[in-house]
Amino acid sequence: MDAILLQILNGLDKGSAYALIALGLTLIFGTLGVVNFAHGALFMLGAFCAVTLQRILTFSFETVDDSRTDFLGNPLKVETPYVEAWFGPQTGGAIIDWSVPLAILFAIPVMISIGFAMERGLIRHFYKRPHADQILVTFGLAIVLQEIVKYFFGANPIPTPAPESFRGALDFGILLGFDPNVIIYPYWRLVYFLFAMTIIGGVFAFLRYTTFGMVVRAGMADRETVGLLGIDIDRRFTVMFGIAAAVAGLAGVMYTPINAPNYHMGMDFLVLSFVVVVVGGMGSLPGAVLAGFLLGILESFASMNEVKAILPGIDQIIIYLVAIIILLTRPRGLMGRRGVMEE
């Protein structure tokens, strides 16, 4: 029982990342009808927003402290971040410590503008082109974005720690009456899960309860009719593209403490997220979220030693296997609408 619970918890954080990326992919596909292979790159750009902010905050000047010496006997050079000099060591240190959560504020405008630029500059010219062309051009774009990041940040993973107070782990088992130290769950993963739920809830609420969201949903159902009613649906879809980019970016920002970001993290997630979208059903938002969590948890179950003993290597292929089975038996995915991209 406790083992099962532990695997479910372990699957949640990866599942959250899948769900967030898949949600963005589905938003783009559902609104613009574009298959965006560069979505993983957006996730990666988000993660590097966090890295950039960390770099900015720790931007330092050098002073010479005469009262202390380094091991060679020269006066010690002290690096003080500007932030600490301005706000005092206490507040400044806290700001630096909290750079990842702060990066959310930084990433939202950045990612939305990147999304706008992408949609206006490139994607809009591909509405009418075949899906294969869309895949190809966004695939090219993903390579370009990835290489640009590699040029500026290097090829090695860059550690971006979570704030001090979230670095420990929660003994989850005690809360449920198990023995101590049976189910231990790092705080940050819990934060990530809650964050993902908030974002997902926010996107759904936005689509469900605002007039803007209503129009977008109407546009997803029948674009032409909405256009005939005199609504500039293209502009709203561009906004949705920006939102989808921001969702992917935020998923990336918050993921940095779990896995140190490197330039190809997006591609690694992209392939899996596509599989998630297909399993959930092309164009179905709840399907994408459900499939994201489901596959994340399945993956973590498959990596249990007991399972691996029976089926060696299953943890490596479980997601793809599920995708193949789903595509062959139920092509529209778990929650896909009848008739959407079914052939």
């Binding site: 390579i143 060696p312 092509p331």
Partner: protein, 402 residues
């Protein structure tokens, strides 16, 4: 000749001539000149031209003709490599059994994957093939280690059985005693030409592969595949089952990929799982599109183009750049070097990505389309009535299908 009309025969002969004289054609600059770094006439690179040419020709039979975009073709390349290295380990360093086995295993593998994947089309097909390739890649790294030797990669060890290896036999790859790494270096004037056995072996196979694809393009079978691309639904409505045709195309292109993988292992008896990764599948897609999908020459051009520039671009460093721009005033020189720097050397992939995007956006026909446009421009200037009459020369179909 050989079942081709006069025009195709001429075309084939030109291709043959170009292939055979590659070691001379790719060595246009004398050794001592500063442009010698642009020479590409060394065996390793020429072999790669031929091998990736075969890979891309095969991919084009599937993608160019039927429009099915496979994102998992590298899996067949990997299978071919593994099969060939296993033949080296079990029999001897003669490449022939290895290549035959590579084609057979990759064909069977393609039959299996194709049979399942071709139940879907469009993006679903792409994702299915991608999923299969990633599965093979992951398995090759983990559970299949006894067969693939995991991360180390499969290679031949001295204690391998090698049943057919005679006492004192060749210990490098060879074809009936002719070692692949043997070269004839011919210094002519300031030039230096290298004629390598391995390259000519690959080249002969590449020509055969090209000939086969030419015949497929011109055959009723090829016509059927094109019909699938232009309108599969209509094909089904006329009561025709398209599945056997697409499956045949998939298996053929899988066998081409396996052959290319086998040749790779024949030139250098190694096989690693990274050959199966989806980035490798992406590379062949890039080659085909860049050259011009659905055309005969396009994939070969694309493969040559990418491999050549990959090699040349990654060799250009800041010193070379400073050498080029030395005639400019210092400030301007540094500025230009700074601007160009991210695109060369390690940044070659950035250039490739940009180039690829530009091709997809502006030139869906790839390099071949560039050539055709230039020629049209030329003939029109010359005042000859050109054949671009819209009523008589139907517009070429877009290079990808829904």
């Amino acid at each position: 000749m050989a079942g081709l009309d006069a025009r195709d025969t001429r075309f084939l002969l030109i291709v043959v001539a170009l292939t055979l004289f590659t070691p001379i054609l790719l060595q246009p600059f004398p050794e001592s000149s500063s442009l010698a770094q642009f020479n590409a006439g060394y065996p390793d690179l020429m072999q790669r031209f031929a091998i990736f040419g075969i890979f891309a020709i095969g991919f084009n039979i599937l993608f160019g003709l039927t429009g099915y975009l496979s994102f998992g073709h590298a899996a067949f390349l990997g299978v071919g490599s593994y099969a060939t290295v296993w033949m080296f380990k079990l029999l001897s360093y003669n490449v022939l059994p290895g290549l035959i086995l590579a084609v057979i295993t990759s064909g069977l593998f393609a039959l299996l994957i194709g049979y399942i994947s071709l139940r879907r089309s469009g993006i679903y097909f792409s994702i299915l093939t991608l999923a299969f390739a990633q599965m093979s890649f992951n398995l090759a790294y983990s559970v299949l280690t006894p067969i693939t030797n995991g991360e180390t990669g499969l290679q031949v060890y001295t204690d391998d059985p090698q049943y057919l290896l005679a006492e004192g036999g060749l210990t490098t790859t060879h074809i009936f005693g002719l070692a692949m790494n043997k070269s004839l270096v011919a210094p002519v004037g300031g030039w230096e030409f290298t004629f390598n056995v391995g390259y000519y072996f690959c080249a002969v196979i590449a020509i055969a592969a090209f000939y086969l694809s030419l015949r497929i393009f011109r055959s009723p079978f090829g016509m059927m595949l094109r019909a699938v691309k232009s309108n599969q639904q209509r094909m089904s409505y006329t009561g025709l089952n398209t599945r056997p045709y697409t499956l045949a195309a998939f298996v053929i292109s899988g066998m081409y990929a396996g052959l290319a993988g086998g040749l790779m292992a024949s030139m250098d008896p190694l096989a690693g799982a990274e050959r199966m990764q989806w980035t490798a599948s992406g590379e062949v897609v890039l080659m085909t599109i860049l050259g011009g999908a659905g055309t005969l020459m396009g994939p070969v051009l694309g493969a040559g183009f990418i491999k050549y520039f990959e090699n040349i671009f990654s060799k250009i460093n800041d010193n070379v750049l400073h050498g080029w721009f030395a005639f400019l005033p210092d400030g301007l020189e540094d500025l230009l070097v700074t601007i160009v720097h991210p695109f060369v050397g390690k940044g070659w992939h950035l250039t490739l990505g940009l180039l690829f995007m530009l091709v997809v956006i502006f030139l869906p026909g790839g390099l071949v389309e560039v050539g055709q446009r230039l020629r049209r421009l030329f003939t029109r200037r010359g005042g000859t009535p050109d054949a671009a009459d819209p009523r008589h020369a139907p517009k070429s179909a877009p290079h990808v299908a829904e």
